[in-house]
């Protein structure tokens, strides 16, 4: 058994290397933070408890409802819309906290690992976070993400989904101390974050599966994403709205 990680950076590398489910890797990193930075772990516990208390019910759009449309700039300045993504198949829309969040990093890398399978199922992936392209561009290459990361400036889209929360002075102080500069990353005053969430959207624009994690240290298992997409394939095809195109053939098979 090797030595336990001495820094959060090491802990993240360690968690990443583990040949285990995403949940196990997230839990491994989380345990390291409890040991290395009990103050962070405690503040996060309090934050999550506060959010859980307020948002007792189901947060965000539900399964069967349409995911609100978006037009957001990607890391290269191109505008990406939900409608354009859905033209060729279902979409996996990942709402993420930011390029600095270790839990999002673990999650998005695990999505990258199954990206080929997602594509084979005809679907496309996007991550949406409040950070500007000055940060998402480097993040994509550093983590070899094969999908675009869209900038939700001022968290407008996340608010539309009912997913934003006030970071609060305690966590803000902590972020300042550890060098997480939300103001610079988000290009505004940086007081809000979105809740981590995943929506699997069918070509009809309706949400087929979802997971909203008020407890942002937990995420939807990649296997669950694939299962949802497989179920979509197996399900009798719904006639998509709008124009049909060639990719529909694949969709119907």
């Amino acid at each position: 058994m090797s030595e336990p990680p001495r820094t959060l950076g090491e802990a993240l590398t360690e968690a990443e290397k583990r040949n285990a489910s995403l949940s196990a890797r997230l839990a491994s990193y989380r345990q390291s933070t409890v040991r290395l930075r009990p103050d962070i772990a405690k503040l996060y516990d309090e934050l999550v408890a506060r959010l859980n208390m307020i948002d007792a019910g189901e947060v965000g759009p539900k399964v069967g409802e349409p995911l609100p449309p978006f037009h957001l700039p990607d890391q290269n300045g191109g505008l990406v819309s939900l409608a354009a993504l859905l033209r060729t198949g279902p979409a996996v829309v990942s709402i993420n906290r930011g390029h600095w969040c270790p839990y999002c990093k673990l999650e998005l890398r695990s999505l990258a690992a199954i990206h080929d399978e997602i594509r084979a199922l005809g679907a496309r992936v996007v991550s949406i976070m409040p950070d500007t392209a000055s940060f998402t561009g480097g993040y994509i290459s550093a983590n070899a993400l094969p999908f675009p990361v869209l900038s939700d400036i001022d968290l407008g889209y996340s608010l539309l989904l009912g997913l934003i929360f006030w970071v609060g002075p305690d966590v803000e102080r902590l972020y300042q101390e550890v060098g997480v500069d939300l103001e610079r990353y988000q290009g505004n005053q940086g007081h809000f974050l979105p809740m981590a969430a995943k929506f699997i959207v069918g070509q009809d624009g309706l949400i087929k599966a979802r997971q909203v994690n008020i407890e942002f240290r937990e995420r939807m298992e990649p296997e669950a994403v694939l299962a949802a997409l497989r179920a979509l394939r197996g399900a009798p095809a719904q006639p998509p709205r709008g124009k049909s195109d060639d990719s529909r053939g694949a969709w119907n098979r």
Partner: protein, 295 residues
Amino acid sequence: MEMHQVRYFLAVARTLNFTKAAEECHVAQPSLTRAIKLLEGELGGDLFRRERPRAMLTPLGERMYPLLKQCYDSAQSARALAAMINEGEVGVLKIAVSSSIELSLIVNEVNELRRSITEIDLKILRGTGAQIVGYLKSGEAEMAIGTSIGAAWDRLDSWTLFDEAFDMVFSRAHRLASQEAIALDDLKPERFLLRNHCERCADLAKLLADNGLNADHRHEVSSDQDLLALLDANIGIGFLPRTVTAPPSLVRTAVPGLKIERTVCLYGVAGRQRTPVATTFMKMLRAAKWSSKLA
């Protein structure tokens, strides 16, 4: 937090009256009060002091108002843009750009917008710093791109896009062109070309004077086209921001001791309703990675 909670909060903050706000939002007052209570729970404090029938913003409420307004406007414009596209409406983009800034800096974003939103009508207004503030004031432009105009009007919201330095520029036929390094003293006999259309013009003149250079006898232009024409004919020495392109017939160089920079910003009018197209475009400019656009 939820969209409707924020909407109710903003309505009360605007009307300072729960009854009026409820009417404005077409909602029963108890529902509005309940929603605001929930928001207060999330933000960890009261947003209003209730002094019936009036409501006053608490310091927390004052602090949250601009933040939530910004976030709400962003959400609202996302929704409105989708509706617009759905209905095949033609969008309008009215933007004032300082004459000291090349339009090519934003052309990619304009094209992305055109590609995504079937049709937009463009209106590009040009002028000096004072003129683009004027366009914003009159509503002829919904946003502006310029430098150092933030202090000109207290209702301006501004976002920094990028910083850049100015180069000294002169003809390859100029006597200094063959010189390897240029010192301040070499510039003493020179006559400079000042860009009157640039917001930093007065600062540049002062910088020249402070360095003992001739800022009184000078040439003045009010467009980069004219500046380049004069420089090309070897008339005077000019200063150009890095993002303004010059033909290869000109020398661009830095002179130690003559350092001038500018911060290019995006401006909008605080509190004024913008079209969804304008809001989307502003968010695109704010999201862009300017360092790689400029490289």
